[in-house]
Amino acid sequence: MNDFAIEASALKRSFGGRPALDGLDLRVPAGSIFGFLGRNGAGKTTTIKILMGMLKADSGAARIFGVDAGDPARNVEARRRIGFVTEDKELYPYMTVDQVIRFTRPFFPKWRDDLERRYLKMFDLPPGKKISDLSKGMRSKLMLLLAICHSAELLILDEPTDGLDPAAIEDVLRELVAIAASQGTTMFFSSHQLTEVEQIADNICIIDKGRSIVAGVLDDLKAQYQRFRIVLENDLPAGIRWVDGVENVRQEGRTISLLASRNADAVAAQIGSLSGATMERFPVGLKEIFLEHVRSDENALV
């Protein structure tokens, strides 16, 4: 069995000369819940479309279950093992909920009727209602049902909780974690909701301008990242060179805010060596890690 459900290396794709993916590297461990993060236009949906065989990469490699995602025949076979929730949650508007389920079921031999009944009830989906009459939240739930019920080994979820109310989001997240735990399903989901990602993901990748800028096990990243608040009695030494791992330094008066992505102890030692400096250390959440990397900061010293 392949260790990685999804692998991409040096993936490039541009539209009209504008790069959407600029050498993306990505490794999604099998069985993980993988949060794929980035701003609008960072390249998340382009990546997903390449993985699903809807777009071709200009160069680089994309593999699902170890097979080339750009090979149409192999991609069809891979899609049999993938549950997919699209970004816009659009289904056939002329079908009813029941009809779209009956339409989808025969494509997947491992369809589970018990899960279908369970989620129809849990998501309160009216079988006789037309898709065109469903809200976006209801369509999100229906797409999740369709993705989950065929016993997929990999769920690719593009903004899966889009349009859901907070209670429904909680239900969905809980179910996704339960499915991953009980069936070993790999979940690869893109989201803007960092709190959701932090709640369920065990691995993340943050992309910006088509490149992976942070990737790894979320708990490890959170342990590595530290925020330091430094109050100085004297001016910083001119031309100070911070130790490796300092990502961002901002100064307001005699107060400095510093983010370290690794080597936190070495950073603390360097700060301790500054004359008359007092220091506080804080753990950093996913939101802060994300914002530090994707937000351009004109006030940053590093």
Binding site: K49, M52, P72, T86, E87, P93, P106
Partner: protein
């Protein structure tokens, strides 16, 4: 289940050409009765255009979700759901085109058979006449069905239909003015040189139509397989 999707998307689409064809077939005997000296050539010249509207309306690629008459919210986006299904693009196209051909045949064969049974058109009415004319109409429309299928791979449905209609009139103009070989003249083959008038089937036009239909279908397949969404 792709058949079910195709059926749901086009089940009402043939109604307009069907209604117009039935109206035309009813009007022909009435017009001839009102004016007994009128030649059958008039109706026979016009009828091919009615026949060709059917394949133009029924062509489709199966990738895009195809609205009946106007876009519905969500039509475009559901294409991604279709493309994520574990089926090849060849199968999407083949099932949709196959179903479109069946519906085309279901409309054209009985209607053209009925036309062939009208003594006002050929002076002779008999099942053999009807069968020969129905086969001619169906086979000669295959080129336009293929063209419509190809157009559907690159155009939205409304533009596909307009493009197909434009192709009908353009080809009619071309055979009238550009001196194309007789084998390309489907209007003659379905009209004044059809088996209703001529002693045999227009085999040359049938072969050209089938060849063009196959070429357009292969081109549509290539487009669907190469295209990005």
């Amino acid at each position: 289940m792709l058949w079910y999707k195709a059926w749901r998307e086009i089940r009402w689409r043939g109604l307009i050409p069907l209604a117009v064809i039935i109206y035309a077939l009813v009007q022909i005997p009435l017009a001839v009765r009102a004016n007994p000296h009128q030649s059958a050539r008039g109706p026979l010249t016009v009828l091919p255009i009615f026949w060709l509207v059917v394949p133009v309306m029924m062509g489709g690629s199966g990738v895009k979700t195809e609205p009946v008459f106007q876009p519905i919210k969500g039509m475009e986006g559901s294409m991604y759901f279709t493309l994520a299904l574990p089926v090849s693009r060849f199968r999407l196209l083949a099932v949709r085109a196959g179903f479109g051909m069946l519906v085309t045949a279901a409309i054209l064969l009985p209607c053209a058979f009925a036309a062939g049974m009208l003594p006002q058109l050929s002076g002779y009415a008999g099942p053999e006449n009807g069968l020969r004319y129905a086969a001619t109409v169906l086979l000669c429309s295959s080129g336009f069905f293929g063209l419509s299928t190809l157009l559907s791979t690159v155009l939205d449905q409304i533009w596909q239909v307009w493009g197909g209609m434009a192709a009908i009139f353009l080809s009619q103009w071309l055979v009238a003015t550009a001196g194309l070989p007789k084998a390309f003249n489907v209007f003659q083959a379905m009209g004044n040189a059809s088996p209703l008038v001529a002693p045999s089937l227009p085999w040359d036009t049938i072969c050209v139509s089938l060849g063009l239909g196959a070429a357009f279908f292969l081109a549509a397949l290539k487009v669907v397989q190469m295209r990005e969404y």
